[in-house]
């Protein structure tokens, strides 16, 4: 199978370039990550992040034939050859397929991504009905892979001002939690021409999320909450 992979070692290369690899796959090679491991055995200088190899750690997000995804759960059989691999778009490249994710995490950190409840701590668990708990489904499963935010044009243009789909999904995860008490502070934090309202419902984020999550819907719900509190 043929691969064209983005290469750039800031330690020695003046320019990024695309490198061709032609490798023989084994019957056990099911996923793109299996092929990348095979390439790495031939050329140990190819740098990428990977860990869990089952789509739960969020390490190996990359741009695969023009679309963001996780190498470890992208089936080779579904890919057109040559497979073109590039780092996630819009973030500074550290080396090859490894990008600097600081801006992405900064936005995540900016939404107060933890439960706020200043009531005295009870002896036992805080009670939550199964229905209230269901509200967190489709939100808490995010693996912070950044496939969505780096596919979002609004995030490319304003990575410092627009929270982006991943951060907003998590903002809503806490707004939706019946145990959380900071709803109005959370909404204040997002009521801003950029932080939330740069989303133009382009839906790229939904299209690429490898966990099947829907940031656009969460963003819509935050908008609804903002509207409801003004009336």
């Amino acid at each position: 199978m043929n691969f064209k992979i983005y290469r750039f070692d800031t330690d020695k290369d003046a320019q990024p370039y695309m490198q061709d690899y032609d490798i023989e796959l084994q019957p056990t090679d099911r996923m793109l990550l299996d092929a990348l491991e095979r390439i790495k055995a031939l050329d140990d200088s190819l740098s990428l992040r990977r860990s869990c190899r089952e789509g739960v750690c969020g390490s190996d997000a990359m741009n695969i034939n023009g679309k963001n995804g996780l190498a470890c759960i992208t089936k080779l059989a579904d890919l057109k050859s040559p497979v073109e691999l590039r780092p996630l778009p819009g973030l500074p490249v550290i080396r090859d397929l490894v990008v600097d994710m600081s801006q992405f995490f900064k936005q995540y950190h900016s939404v107060t991504p933890y439960l706020v409840n200043d009531e005295p701590v009870p002896e036992r668990e805080r009670l939550q009905s199964p229905q209230d708990r269901d509200q967190l489904d489709g939100l808490y499963e995010c693996i912070l892979c950044a496939c969505c935010s780096t596919a979002c044009p609004s995030f490319w243009w304003n990575p410092d001002k627009f929270v982006g789909p991943a951060g907003l999904l998590q903002a809503y995860r806490f707004l939706a939690d019946s145990r959380d008490e900071a709803t109005s502070e959370r909404l204040d934090n997002l009521e801003d021409p950029y932080r939330l309202f740069r989303c133009h419902s382009i839906m790229n984020c939904v299209d690429v999320c490898p966990k099947g999550l829907n940031p656009t819907k969460a963003i819509g719900k935050i908008r609804d909450m903002l509207v409801r509190r003004t009336v």
């Binding site: 860990s51 869990c52 739960v56 933890y114 805080r126």
Partner: protein, 588 residues
């Protein structure tokens, strides 16, 4: 060459469940703590845990920590220390409640309490049965939910993370006190000395010593390799847990929660064979028991498929609704990695290397201990460990499912608290020894200078093959003996590994070479310890000694890197407050 030095109160190596539970204690108490991780914290392998956290909350019916303690001692095949096991089970309910308060999205019962599911080896009434529902879970994504919750709580506490920093070696002064670590910043290739008053290891497992494993690429036993090079023994390394249900061929885990929710195993004749091996607990017997039963079925020709080399996990009878609400991640994994939809078809599974019961010896306070002047448990000052890299020993010869996440919470917190006490008693940094960086610099410069040496992936593959063939579910005297010799040869080759990539920037070839230098210590320790233990206990099953040898072998193995020497120390049979649980025959 002198390395740049940075100074902290405490260094924690590892930002998985154990490391982040410990860091929370220190950061909230206002200490200057540096938490190092090879990966962004939420990418640590705790994220992959599926089934749940064991704690006798009693939300689903009667339960008590005494029952949990009995099950854990029995599960450990009486090799676990009963003082640490009491501590684990007694503290577990508090640890889980606290995690709920941190925001953990647990599944819920109608009355709003945390939902708990059955799990292997967890029983009512001191093992008499029936199964008890003790595993607190968030669908089949418990580890993910827990790791993210702990990370979020650490953001609140302003914990200082050093992301993509790899610890390389431990620094001990002439008295043996631990005073820091050397570490590599992966993005720049810079190497630093981190000078601290205490160092806590929470580096996780080493499942990547086997060819077939449920573990992540980064689970390379770094903490163990580093400790071994610094003269600290490794405890009970012969005990490796093979999880009954790894996806055949891929290794990816299918949680025991599937069987907890009512799934079961079938052989090629469609027989529910666990009824023969464990008439009471059946598919929910302890993992060592189920894995051995599966290996026996395969050995005796009752495996499924053209090569009769796997078994089937049936769960379609649970119905699509339950599968979607309680096991959605499993459905996703089965579709992706086994090409089956478990709603209609069984999943092909085989026993797969999963968990390391052994590790760096600690006590129930999370202090690292080693023998000195005839006392087997002398504290190594300034050094702490928690989580899978530590051997407390709560899991003994076989870990019960759900007890690792409990271990992370309970001993993560305990080791953090003990560190705080130590820091208060030791307000000043001890001087760095003159040779603080020598070992690290020698290793790095050898790797930089080495040309046409051995390839990292080839030597690594040979190590994994050797462990798989010689140190598996069933162990044979000739294979063990030969395995010790072979792994010694592989260790020689590791000393000559070379990398082509010499770049400073994000050099993953260098990282993988350094990881192999740690893995090989784990492999040598495991085979050497296994060859020497002349009995069968828990996960260690020998054809020539099929029975448990309580007279001679209720003792922990200690392996020292220096000369690959072995030593032994007694098991703690006296709990902190409960009654000793005396050894008896272990059936399920």
């Amino acid at each position: 060459m002198a390395l740049p030095v940075r100074k902290f109160d405490a260094v924690i190596v590892g930002a998985g469940g154990a490391g982040m539970r410990a860091s929370l204690q220190l950061a909230e108490a206002g200490f200057r703590v540096a938490v190092l991780s090879k990966v962004f914290p939420t990418r640590s392998h705790t994220v992959a845990a599926q089934g749940g956290i064991g704690a006798a909350l009693g939300n689903m019916g009667e339960d008590s920590w005494h029952w949990h303690m009995f099950d854990t001692v029995k599960g450990s095949d009486w090799l676990g220390d009963q003082d640490t096991i009491e501590f684990l089970c007694r503290e577990a309910p508090k640890a889980v409640i606290e995690l709920e308060h941190f925001g953990m999205p647990f599944d819920r019962n109608k009355d709003g309490t945390v939902y708990q599911r059955p799990f292997g080896g967890h029983m009512q009434n001191f093992g008499a049965g029936p199964a008890v529902q003790r595993s607190c879970c968030a669908a089949d994504r418990t580890g993910h939910a827990m790791l993210h919750t702990l990370y979020q709580r650490n953001i609140r506490a302003n914990t200082h993370f050093f992301v993509e920093w790899m610890a390389l070696d431990l620094i001990r002064d002439a008295s043996g006190q631990v005073v820091g670590v050397t570490a590599l910043e992966m993005e720049t290739g810079e190497v630093y000395i981190l000078h601290a008053r205490s160092v806590l290891f929470a580096t996780g497992g080493a499942g990547r010593v086997y060819a077939s494993s449920t573990n992540a690429f980064i689970n390379t036993g770094d903490g163990l390799g580093i400790a071994a090079r610094a003269g600290i023994p490794l405890e009970d390394m012969e005990f490796w847990q093979f999880h009954p249900t790894g996806v055949a061929g891929a290794g990816v885990l299918i949680t025991e929660g599937v069987r907890g929710e009512g799934g079961y195993l079938l052989n090629k004749d469609g027989e529910r064979f666990m009824e023969r091996y464990a008439p009471n607990a059946k598919d929910l017997a302890s993992r060592d028991v189920v894995s051995r039963a599966m290996a026996t079925e395969i050995k005796e020709g009752r495996g499924c498929g053209d090569d009769a080399d796997y078994l089937q996990l049936k769960l379609d009878h649970l119905g699509v609704e339950l599968i979607e609400s309680k096991l959605p991640g499993i459905r996703e994994i089965a579709k992706k990695f086994a090409n089956v939809d478990p709603v209609s078809d069984p999943i092909p599974v085989v026993p797969t290397c999963h968990y390391m019961m052994g590790g760096i010896p600690t006590n129930y306070r999370g202090e690292v201990v080693a023998p000195k002047n005839g006392d087997p448990d002398v504290v190594v000052p300034g050094f702490f460990a928690a989580g899978e890299c530590a051997c407390a020993s709560v899991h003994g010869a076989n870990r019960l499912g759900t007890n690792s996440l409990t271990d992370l919470l309970v001993f993560g917190k305990a080791s953090g608290d003990t560190t705080i006490r130590f820091l208060k008693e030791n307000p000043h940094h001890k001087d760095l020894p003159k040779d603080a960086a020598d070992l690290t610099l020698a290793r790095l410069s050898r790797l930089d200078a080495q040309t046409n040496g051995e390839k990292v992936h080839e030597v690594g593959a040979e190590m994994r093959r050797t462990m798989q063939a010689h140190c598996g579910v069933f162990r044979f005297p000739d294979l063990l003996e030969e395995g010790v010799k072979k792994i010694g040869e592989v260790a020689q080759r590791v000393q000559r590994i070379a990398i082509d990539d010499k770049s400073r920037v994000f050099n993953t070839a260098r990282v993988e070479a350094l990881e192999l230098e740690n893995l090989i210590e784990v492999a040598v320790a495991s085979l050497t310890s296994a060859d020497a233990r002349k009995e069968s206990r828990g996960a260690h099953d020998r054809s020539d000694f099929p029975d448990r040898g309580d007279e001679n072998w209720i003792k922990h193995t200690l392996w020292y890197k220096d000369g690959s020497r072995l030593d032994y120390k007694p098991v703690h049979m006296t709990p902190l407050s409960a009654q000793t649980i005396p050894p008896k025959v272990r059936t399920y």
